[in-house]
């Protein structure tokens, strides 16, 4: 028997709509670029050469660093605990060469001879009060922001989906308890809650992710619950149940795929706001440990040097703004694509 051709799926329609939206595509490209920058931060900004030839042998110090970190390789004794820049300057002869990354500084490379330099050819975005290169710190800081956004939102989307699905599907007492919980959590000013919880925990990226994750689930839960309430009495769900599908199968196989679009949209906006929360926390000094480069912590550093040092304030702020805007643009595009009714307006 030949299978009937499947009608165009919901996600296909959404994707097609999304692809037409040029602004949204541009936003997506920027987000992807940021992820690439974060993933290859060590190849963009590092004090180690990417490739070098020394005494007729080719080395890849940046890669080697990863291998050494993983424990699968060891540094050659001549390169152990050595500053490659000094090494190149003192040991290299004519036949040797080294290719450094575009930004030749590590995020935590302190240099007391070049403190608080404004942007120049040597330090593209200037240096901070202990001579760390801001360009390098901004590049490496993207890792914190992007990972916090992604992980925190994943945590709360999972919690929210679970609670919202239960509440919407089963109704009755389950719904009552869940709805009360959602209402209570929505009443509590989230940022106060986060600050309060953070005060009790040692500063670390993981803690920030978890705290943002467990404090922001109610919006997702509320959305999911609403969608489930709408969907659960539709014919196809009733049909699935009549065919004897279990609750778990009905929820995950039949209802969830058709209700997840608004959650996905909310999650995209959520990533933007999680990035804002992380940078605000780091700015106030409650976020990542001060030694870790993050956009918020660079700004926090800048705050102590106010009113001088405009470059310390400007560039990390722009980075946050760019990232958050891109996520918001993508979210907006997704929302328009998922809900054509809104698009007309």
């Amino acid at each position: 028997m030949k299978r009937a051709q499947r009608p165009e799926g919901y996600w296909h329609i959404v994707l097609r709509q999304f692809r037409r939206n040029r602004v949204a595509i541009a936003g997506l490209v920027v987000v992807l670029l940021l992820f690439i920058i974060a993933a290859f931060a060590d190849f963009i900004a590092s004090d180690k050469p990417l490739v070098m030839k020394y005494r007729n042998q080719v080395y890849f110090p940046v890669l080697k660093d990863y291998a050494a970190w993983l424990g699968v390789a060891r540094w050659e004794t001549q390169f152990q605990n050595v500053s490659f820049k000094d090494f190149v300057a003192s040991n290299f002869d004519k036949r040797d060469w080294a290719q450094f990354p575009p930004i030749r500084y590590s995020p935590n490379e302190v240099s007391l001879t070049s403190v608080l330099r404004p942007p120049s050819a040597q330090h593209l975005l200037g240096t901070d009060d202990v001579g760390r290169d801001i360009a390098s710190r901004v590049v490496h800081g993207s890792r914190v922001s992007l990972s916090v956004g992604f992980v925190a939102v994943s945590i709360y989307v999972l919690i929210g989906l679970f609670i919202g699905a239960l509440a919407g599907y089963y109704g009755g007492i389950v719904d009552m308890i869940a709805s009360r919980m959602i209402e209570i959590m929505l009443t509590i000013p989230t940022f106060f809650l986060i600050i309060t919880v953070v005060a009790f925990l040692p500063p670390s990226i993981l803690n920030i992710m978890i705290v943002i994750g467990i404090t922001n689930w109610p919006t997702v839960a509320r959305l999911t619950r609403g969608e489930f309430l709408k969907t659960k009495s539709l014919e196809y769900v009733v049909a699935a149940k009549a065919l004897g599908a279990s609750d778990v199968r009905t929820i995950f196989r039949h209802i969830l795929p058709n209700t997840i679009a608004p959650v996905f949209v909310a999650a995209t906006f959520g990533v933007a706001s999680a990035i804002l929360i992380e940078s605000t926390l780091s700015f106030l000094g409650f976020g990542v440990p001060p030694s870790k480069a993050s956009w918020g912590s660079i700004l926090s550093n800048a705050r102590q040097l106010l009113p001088s040092g405009w470059w310390l304030t400007l560039f990390p702020g722009l980075a946050i703004f760019l990232t958050v805007t891109s996520y918001n643009i993508v979210g907006e595009g997704l929302r328009d694509a998922a809900d054509p009714r809104l698009k007309e307006s």
Partner: protein
């Protein structure tokens, strides 16, 4: 009307219990184990191990952490209901006295901010919606979108760098809400002085709320304008002005008013950054100090009270809701 509000007030009780439970759970995150201290945040911040140990002992005694759980919870509930939050670990003043000084400042700041946000966003949203895709609408949409993604601590820092007398201009005062010697001035001068001090913090606090509101206003208005009763009004031959302001505006205000419930918590949260940066003695800066000094009882009091304040704000929004929309009132079951 009265029945509705009695109902609404009664519904606040479970929410209140929930808030007390959440705060109670947070207290149990208190580092009660001295071993935890070695991992080390409190003792680094407060300078020495002895002081940290003292903090833990006092916190333990204050919350009765050696009692069974339900006893602890009932005690905590009693404290909340009687506004007895104990003493600050730092200067041993009763916490409630500290809060009494700080709350009015924050309420004033958020009140002014909310007022401005509504005053500007409603006409702006109406204009955008009645002239969709005009140049004005497009520019507003893009600007609002930008405002939406700007971190307020960045804007505040930039404002201080560029306008607060650093290397650039010196236009606005960036410290506190009054000049140091303002006490002896006549009232109009004091008022002018305070307004001058308020401009930057209120701007930093308002723009996000304002952006959210304007966007909702525009979408809401556009949706309303497309409905049948507006077409009917047009068909009747009513003037455009009457249609927009008497028929459309009233209906599109409803979602905007309910948004207040979402905006208030955000506003209170934003005050932490703004008050701290501009050294304004409100709840926000108090909570910043409380976190920095690990003043747990103070922190818990602020947390609980900010949730209570938000709850009151939501109640106020509900009240306004019934004013804007006469259809909502007695019968509506208040489950929303």
């Amino acid at each position: 009307m009265r029945i509705y509000f009695v109902k609404r007030l009664l519904l606040m009780v479970p929410t209140l219990l929930g808030i007390s439970l959440v705060s109670f759970l947070i207290i149990h995150l208190t580092p009660g184990d001295p071993a935890l201290l070695k991992l080390g945040d409190s003792e680094q911040r407060s300078g020495n191990q002895l002081l940290a140990a003292q903090i833990i002992d006092e916190t333990r005694a204050l919350y009765g952490l050696d009692q069974p759980l339900y006893v602890q919870y009932l005690r905590w509930l009693k404290r909340i209901l009687t506004f007895d939050f104990g003493e600050s670990l730092r200067d041993h003043r009763p916490i409630i006295d500290k809060l009494k000084e700080r709350i009015p400042v924050s309420v004033k700041l958020s009140g002014i901010s909310l007022l401005f946000a509504y005053l500007i966003s409603i006409p702006l949203g109406v204009h955008s919606a009645t002239h969709p895709y005009s140049i004005g609408d497009r520019v507003t949409t893009i600007v609002l979108f930008g405002l939406y993604s700007l971190p307020n601590f960045w804007i505040a820092t930039m404002a201080i760098v560029y306008l607060g007398g650093g290397d650039f201009w010196n236009v606005f005062p960036v410290y506190g809400l009054a000049s140091p010697n303002a006490g002896s001035w006549p009232w109009w001068q004091r008022l002018e002085d305070e307004l001058w001090h308020l401009i930057l913090p209120v701007t930093c606090l308002t723009y996000y709320t304002f952006a959210v509101l304007s966007r909702y206003m525009r979408v809401g208005m556009i949706e309303i304008i497309r409905q049948d009763f507006i077409r009917t009004a047009r068909a009747k031959g009513l003037g455009e002005r009457t249609i927009v302001y008497r028929h459309a505006l009233r209906n599109s205000l409803i979602p905007i008013v309910t948004l207040m419930a979402d905006l208030l918590p955000a506003l209170l949260g934003g005050s932490i950054v703004v008050e701290t940066l501009f050294s304004i003695p409100g709840m926000g800066s108090l909570s910043y100090e409380a976190v920095n000094t690990r003043d747990y009882p103070l922190l818990m009091a602020i947390f609980t009270l900010s949730a209570l304040l938000t709850l009151l704000g939501i109640l106020l929004a509900d009240f306004l809701y019934t004013l804007v929309d006469p259809r909502i009132g007695y019968e509506k079951s208040a489950t929303a």
